[in-house]
Amino acid sequence: MTRVAIKALAQRKLRTALTVLAIVVGVGMVSAALVLGDSMKKGADSLSASSYRGTDAVVSARTPFTVSSQQTGATPTIPATVLERVRSVPGVGAAVGDVTDQQVKLAGPDGEPVGDGPYFGVGYDAGARGAGDLTPFQLRHGRFARGAGEVVVDAGTARKQGWRVGDAVKVSGRGPARDMRISGIARFGDVDSLGTATSAVMDLGAAQSLLGKGDRFDNVLVSAAPGVSAAELRRALARELPSSVRVQSAAASDRFALDSLSQVVKWVKVILLVFGGVAILVGAFTIANTMSITLAQRSRELALLRALGTTRKQVRRLVVAEATVMGAIGSALGIGAGILIARGLSSVMASAGMELPDAGTVFGPSTVIVSLIVGLGVTVLAALGPASRSTRVSPVTAMREGADIPPSRFGRRSVPIATGMLALSALLLAAAAFAPGIDAGGRGALIGPGVLLLFLGVALVSPKLARPLASVIGRPLERIGGSAGSLARRNAMRDPGRTAATASALMIGLSLVVFVSVVGQGIRQSTTGALEKQVHAEYVVGSTDGWTEIDPAAAAAVRKAEGVRTVSELTQDQARAFGEETGVNGVDPRTIDSVYGFGIAAGAKPSPASLAGNGALVEKGFADEHGLKVGSAFTVTSAKGDRLRLKVTGIGDPPKFDPLSLGEVTIAQRSFARSFANRRDRLAFVSAAGDSQAAIDEALAGFPTVQALTAADFADEQMSWVDDALGILYVLLALSVIVSLFGIVNTLVLSVFERRRELGMLRAVGMTRRQVRRMVRHESVITALIGAALGVGVGLALAGLVTSAFSDQGLAFSVPVGSLVAFAVVAALAGVLAAVLPARRAARLDPLTALAYE
């Protein structure tokens, strides 16, 4: 049977090739996700190993909770005396004081900031005994920095910027950026740089001064004496040192935040796998549709096999064998394509500033196994329906002309089955969206099958929708296309099952495109709305990258600019309250109310009186969760371990969709400064007269990494990540749209083949080649637009569900009409593209062969 299967496939080369191509793209995505994920994981792992090699223990300040790695600036420091204590502990080989900060930015001599973060700033005591073993930085050129005017930069950044030893750069820490000269270029462990990070390695004293740490350290790095194990060393240190410090392994302290890198890697892999899965699902539709059309056209051949004594079981086996062969070829090619896609994606990510350490492409056996199982499994599963239908061909069909395969029992009951699927899907999705007490994983487990059932259900009812949709969509095309357009419309309507199945594949990709664009628009609008409501300042001063913090010296400089009336700084830090982590804001009680609205729901606005002493403004959600009312008392603990007894004087209810992600508790800056370590500002709100931009910019000249934006520009900038995210999602979804285009090409090629006699007649009675091409093209466009219509419907429904689930968070449901129109236009163009090959085939058809009798 396999031999017959292979011969049958070889006879229908184009159809087989197009079907295989659909599998290749889907499997390619999955295998790319696996290859990229494994490669990045290896990179991250090797980086972790090489970064912390040689450092057996890290001594740092004990904090009551884990300080987020993004907030190393807020980690309490330890006094210089700890270093002496450490060195006296038996078993210690070498120990050095260390400063590691994530917000030391490098800028070129022109002041243009470099990199997208994290921005490592390291104080390294190169002269200390054994220091070389306690740092990941390995000099390639030059020497380590000495004194306040020198810096060593990482090799990756130096290469990207074209920097050499001796070049002048600006280094921003506390206060205005300082001019420094590059004394050396270093590698980070085994790699040129740590992902997208920039590194500025300074003399320890220079770093302490740059970051305003006095003579204190962030860490003391320790290596064990010969013969002492790392664990023994850590035990000894823990025994000998005061309880105000903590002793950890280097990996546990993770001062270069490599764990967050691994998290990113994990997420990238999951996202790629999800989109690979979508592409596979679309591929499954294409395969099922192609198989069922091909089998319908081969009903006479199959009937002949039956008439010659082939059993039903053998016919089914033949069809499944064909699918298996295609699945195997497609998967094998897909795995190869996956490696190429992975390379492409990693260079796309690198150019988008998400470069990860390169440790070589990992092509593991799990990639091969998973890709093969997915590719083969999906192809065979997709073929099962058509295969079981093909067995229903009666042997007499061989003797008759143009007999069709009878619809399966399943097909006849499609409406009730689809209704059941849609109902179940609605139930799952509603539960995922609204049911209380389910965690994110649980919701995901409901959403996945819910969305799958939604797609399948819509695909099943779509034959009922295809006729009216084709009729409506075809009308305007009839105007444009004349007789060719009108025939195209009728062709699209004549086999609604086929048109619908073809369109459904496109529907999946497009519905997800519509979904992300509607949700993106909602996020954008909610955010802009929230910012307009909250920010009453003319200007907002923040970091040029939009997410890191700024030095208070920048705010002080702006305060002196001409035309500026008020500059109100906002400082943030982590804290613990009611046993959970939360954020605390420090504000200037005299000015904050004039530039930022907290949306006071109860109690007093933030004012010198209300925030005096232990007065605090809390967010309504926080107050409700912990049963706080105006006048209630509660306690927060800072990273330093200070316990603040606070009293609620006001409850704010700002728009929930808060792009500034302010803390839930707001206190006066004076109390904040006493108990919290963070000395940087999240933002500074500026109220100023008229056009003060030039004056403010001039005041900020010494701060290349700080910018002042008008309130409107600030809102736009806060939104730029939405556009970035949408861009990436569109690219990933484009792959599944491409798979569905193969489906359209396939269906059209098969339809043209099937209708060759009709086409011959049309040519004979005077249809020009041009008109034939137009007819096929218009049918393709109609099919694509049906897919677009279904996709828009399903996408809007999904987006509506999600936005209403998050409506209490302030997420608006807003339809980006322009984008939807653009998607429809793209779908129509895709239809035109898909029709190129089939239309050419149809036009080239010789009327004589078409009219010849068998």
Binding site: G482, S483, S486, L487, R490, N491, M493, R494, R757, E758, G760, M761, L762, R763, A764, V765, G766, M767, T768, R769, Q771, P847, L848, L851, Y853
Partner: protein, 244 residues
């Protein structure tokens, strides 16, 4: 059956000077090359005057279909000339041939070849739709009525009998007022009673309407209805007789 058509106006724009509807001169058609060349047609000349009903007969492989395809502009000859309404087809490219077929030639096929998704009326109007011209509604109504299809206008081909489907195909061919109508085994897919009926319809079209018809058939009984019978064997005309 076609008496109501006798007063139909003469075909607009067609030069009436041309007394010959279609003429083949020294027409040859070879298939293949070298050793394996097949001479399907060997220097055949045939002139069909306007209004004549000609039957082309011959066994399978005699070249009768090839002759029809060449005269209908569906195929290009290896040598010789074909003139339809005085215009030479041999030099035309595909587009010109298509336009020629559209305006001057009608077809009736063995397999009817109606579009399954179009109604009877839409099928009849199809050629004028393709041309983008507005059909002569009065003529269409008379033809459909004359063929007894009035109450079938909205039906789909699949709802009609074979004889009815072939009537629709004939209606489709003659409402375009072609210079010549080619019928390729028009009764081949029909039982003998229905076949006779369809031959009657064609005969009426020739008598009542002056429609020039060239019918290819291997059925001697069918050929009897024509004015003239041309018999082909091995790519040559072996007999050319007038029936009455």
């Amino acid at each position: 059956m076609f008496t109501q058509l006798t007063d139909a106006p003469a075909r607009i724009g067609a030069p009436d000077v041309e007394a010959t509807a279609v003429a083949a001169t020294d027409l040859s058609r070879d298939y293949g090359e070298g050793e394996s060349v097949v001479h399907a047609l060997r220097s055949v000349s045939l002139e069909v005057p306007r209004g004549e009903f000609t039957a082309v007969m011959g066994p399978s492989g005699s070249g009768k279909s090839t002759l029809m395809h060449l005269m209908a502009g569906l195929d290009t000859p290896t040598a010789g000339s074909v003139r339809v309404s005085g215009r030479e087809l041999a030099q035309m490219d595909d587009n010109e041939l298509t336009l020629m077929r559209r305006e001057e030639i009608g077809f009736v096929f063995q397999a009817f070849n109606l579009l399954p998704m179009l109604s009877v009326e839409e099928n009849v109007l199809l050629p004028s739709r393709i041309m983008g011209s507005s059909p002569d509604r009065a003529l269409v109504d008379r033809v459909i009525g004359g063929l007894g299809l009035d109450d079938r206008r909205r039906h789909l081909p699949s709802e009609l009998s074979g004889g009815q489907q072939q009537r629709v195909a004939i209606a489709r061919a003659i409402v375009g007022r072609p210079a010549v109508l080619f019928a390729d085994e028009p009764t081949g897919n029909l039982d003998s009673a229905t076949g006779t009926e369809i031959l009657g319809v064609l005969r009426d079209a020739a008598d009542a309407h002056g429609q020039t018809i060239v019918m290819v058939t291997h059925d001697a009984h069918a050929a009897e209805i024509a004015d003239r019978v041309v018999v082909l064997t091995d790519g040559r005309i072996v007999e050319d007789r007038v029936n009455r």
